[in-house]
Amino acid sequence: MYKLIAVSALAALCVAGCNKKKEEGGSTAAMTKEDKGVAKAPESGGSVTVNGSGSSFQKPYQEVAVAAFTKANAGVRINYGGGGSGKGRQDLADQVVDFAGADSPYKDADLAKNKGGDVLYFPILLGAITISYNVQGVDQLQLSPETIAKIFQRDIKKWNDKDIAADNPGAKLPDGDIVVAHRSDGSGTTDNFTRYLDQAAKDVWKLKSGATVEWPPDTQAGNGNPGVAQIVKSTKGAIGYVDLSDAKASGLKFATVKNQAGKFIEPTTDSSSAAGDGIDVKDNLLFSAVNAKGDASYPITYQSWVIVYAKQTDHAKGTALKSFIKYLVTEGQSQLKGLDFSPLPKGLADKTVAQLDKIQVP
């Protein structure tokens, strides 16, 4: 009895929540007034539904893009459920969905388990991970990768530590305790942040990299980017890694980070686009945007892909999917900055569009 009531209450909540989300997506799309310019999918006759799941990092973009794209293509329905990159990769491997969103690719060993054969990776956006902090009286903070590594593995526990002081000549740093905030849930943000430290501070960083790592117990964990932002905002002396849009939404201060060229760079949509210029991209469009070369590159930049099977089995679905991805990597790109994401740099965008031809539609 209780369960029944609880379930129906939850269902009611979800209905309300889902509707709200749709409205938001719709209004944002309407605001950009791009509807007329959106590419139309070739008429497939009748309606077709395309399902995707995965990365929650790219979800805000998916929501806006889906709203705009389906408005222009009346017969197409696209659902993008989040759930995390790992879930998206697994769903695609099991052919539960038609495309996956992911912040990191399949492991080589797992590729053979994909039921639909070879996959293609389409990068759709770049984004910055900020080092957000809450220290009164410190409005500018410069951090080198080694210092960040030491802070997050609790080698440095005070704000006036000599390493932080060395990164910030002349700055007045308080004698307060550092509170480290990180993700409680497995996350592509954690994966890319720790991968960055593993590369940029490899002599210092000991916690390795992954969607979840062994954080020391005297740290705080929050759920999702908003959860970490909340801890940083409400805790004096806190520092945490938060994606740019959530850091901005919560009004957090964030540090400039020293890149490979030795320059301290502020995380912005431009500086992470610049990072996209300084990376080596493989032929299959796989790359890692962390610790990129270039004077203007923000070094903790990460990326998100849409993954699909090269061999599509359904004509209508394959056609719709292909034109949706084309929208994501061409016209849709102009909406990214408004969401605090960075568009793909030109060279990479061209390669991505060219790869669309590799999708085989029966």
Partner: protein
């Protein structure tokens, strides 16, 4: 002739009904068995000697020791029970024995209402009020308090119903013999409803151990914590599964499923122990 026809018809209906009942009962067992089998098979690579003894849980190094999470699950459930049981029994006794009649119905209604609040709501409330406003942080204690609030209405509801089954004659006899209200509770209500009350508490315990979202939000998600310090951040088995499943690869996934199997076994064990306690105390009270 008519009677025989009727009997034949009845026998047919009887048989059909008993077949249906057996099938339904069998289906429950089958589902339980299948869940256990499939999960255990998927989890098999992760089970090893170190699974229940190691305190280290590292996806990067593929070392999976569940001890801190088992500890966290049991410890937070214990804190919840310690807080919830006195309150629940107190409320149940108040409602049934000493509340003015006009207050009884609204109170029962309110308590039942508390039982249907979704756990995520309690979890968010815990984060905003207990962790941040009262500065308890995310810890075993915060999780224990949230769990206590969640299981209090369940225990209260069941306890109230159990207590109400005490025959009025026995209560009145105790009062007629000059017992105070407390002595009446001790002498008439307690022996009569002991078994049922233990059952109610155990049901609450089961809910506390399996609670996922609320625990995941407030427990702190710290690794390797096996400590009795209630203010330390920790982790519990369902919270780990909920937090890490989305981004897990093999063999991390197998380890998470192994956690689920272990949780399954522990909850069943707790329920079996509860049933046996209830049965034994029922026998004793019937014998006395």
């Amino acid at each position: 002739m008519q009677l025989a026809e009727l009997r034949g018809h009845k026998q047919y209906a009887d048989r059909a009904f008993s077949a249906l009942a057996v099938a339904a009962a069998g289906l429950v067992l089958l589902i339980l068995g299948m869940i256990a089998l499939v999960m255990t098979r998927r989890a098999w690579p992760a089970f090893g000697a170190q699974f229940f003894t190691s305190t280290r849980w590292s996806a990067a190094d593929q070392v999976f020791g569940a001890l801190p999470f088992v500890w966290g699950t049991l410890y937070t459930a214990l804190i919840a029970i310690v807080i919830a049981v006195p309150i629940s029994l107190g409320v149940a006794l108040f409602v049934t024995q000493s509340a003015p009649p006009w207050l009884r119905k609204p109170m029962v209604y309110l308590i039942d209402l508390l039982a249907v609040v979704p756990s995520v709501v309690f979890g968010l409330w815990g984060v905003l009020i207990l962790s941040q406003h009262f500065g308890l942080g995310r810890s075993f204690l915060t999780a224990g308090i949230i769990l206590a609030i969640m299981i209090t209405p369940i225990i209260t509801s069941l306890a109230r119903e159990v207590i109400e089954t005490t025959p009025a004659g026995e209560k009145e006899a105790a009062l007629a013999l000059g017992a105070t209200r407390w002595e009446m509770i001790e002498g008439a209500i307690w022996p009569h409803s002991k078994g049922g009350l233990v059952g109610a508490v155990m049901l609450g315990l089961g809910r506390a151990m399996g609670e996922t979202i609320a625990a995941a939000l407030v427990i702190g998600s710290a690794l390797g914590q096996v400590t009795v310090n209630p203010l330390a951040p920790g982790n519990s088995m369902p919270a780990v599964i909920a937090n890490e499943w989305g981004e897990a690869d093999e063999p991390h996934k197998a380890a998470l499923i192994a956690l689920a199997v272990a949780l399954f076994v522990i909850t069943i064990a707790v329920n079996l122990i509860a049933t046996s306690i209830v049965q034994r105390s029922m026998k004793r009270s019937r014998g006395a």
